[in-house]
């Protein structure tokens, strides 16, 4: 008698106790959230806290996010750390456009959320980086403590965990940069 080919998946019963849910989504999201590589984008004071987060005491590398890339073309995450000025805004947009999908933006600090201490009278401050790039996570503080930045990273990981490859996201808009 010819044995019927098994209908179970490739990973069925390979692991003890049925611990893992082995959908492709889960695997891909786990891989993506554990290796979010930020682009070094410290603009002002929040950059110091970002450096502190990358250093040994708070260690962002235990989340897999310690490989800061100098070029946006190899990065997943842009942590906008510092005050955004009008002069800088066009450069931020250009660097954001150079990041490949899937890309995320974290607005770190009060200045990037709504202008921060410069919201009322800052003549050259863009009141929030969301006017320049689309933001995924906001981390309030002036500057936020490294623990707060790590919490922002974990909220971003939650967001990545919710993604699914069953539906495609919107097509990226064409830009000439």
């Amino acid at each position: 008698m010819v044995e019927e080919p098994t209908r179970n998946g490739l990973l069925y019963n390979r692991f003890d106790d049925g611990v893992m849910v082995t959908s492709v989504d889960w695997l891909l999201n786990w891989a993506r959230e554990s290796s979010i590589w930020p682009v070094t984008f410290g603009i002002a004071c929040c950059a110091i806290e970002m450096m502190a987060t990358g250093a040994s005491r708070f260690d962002i590398d235990r989340f897999g996010a310690g490989a800061f890339r100098p070029t946006p073309r190899q990065a997943d995450l842009m942590i906008v750390a510092g005050t955004v000025t009008y002069k800088m805004a066009s450069r931020i947009r250009r660097l954001y456009n150079q990041m490949p999908d899937p890309k995320y933006v974290m607005a770190m600090g009060a200045c990037t959320i709504g202008g921060g201490p410069y919201a009322r009278h800052g003549y050259h401050v863009v009141k929030g980086v969301e006017m320049v790039v689309p933001v995924d996570v906001y981390v309030p503080g002036c500057p936020p403590r490294p623990e707060a930045l790590l919490e922002g990273l974990m909220r971003l990981q939650d967001r990545i965990r919710m993604q699914t490859i069953a539906r495609r996201g919107p097509a990226p808009e064409k830009t000439d940069i």
């Binding site: 009008y86 002069k87 805004a89 066009s90 003549y123 050259h124 863009v126 009141k127 006017m131 320049v132």
Partner: protein, 188 residues
Amino acid sequence: MSVEEIGSVLSERFGDAIIEFVAAGLHPHAVVAAGRWHEVATFLRDDPRMGFNMLRSVSGVDRQAQNELEAVYDLIAMAPPEGSREGFWAARHALAVKVRTERANPHIPSVADVWPTADWHEREAYDLLGIVFDGHPDPVEDEAGRHPRRILCPDDWQGHALRKDYVFPEAYGGIPGRSEIDASKPVK
């Protein structure tokens, strides 16, 4: 030399170009007429009794009540007197000079050739207050005339940001500078 002596030397030499001399108080200063400021500046640097060889900073002031713009030059004479052991940074004397000009068409001669510090400081005073420094070594020619190049704001920025009657732009480069909510709040 004491401040009063400096004052008397200046008044004697330049007469009515020195509009006012205030020796007392925390900030002894001379008020000099804008037309002859370059001459006075060269004298202040080169005369051996004065010897003001360092310009610490140029500050711009918007005197809206008197309808004038003012540039304040903080000068200091370094180098110790003969026989002193204190070293190069000892200051002999310090003086401030205030040059006032009208708000509608502000022009002050540039002293960037006298003290190189003035180069960038004058660019900042132009950028943020609109004081045009004639004879600046880094000029730009546009519909506003011949003026120093802006240093902080982008070159096509409209207006001078630290004037007391400055209003934020609606938008710059497509990014909004002011929202309707913001504009309707009373300015404290």
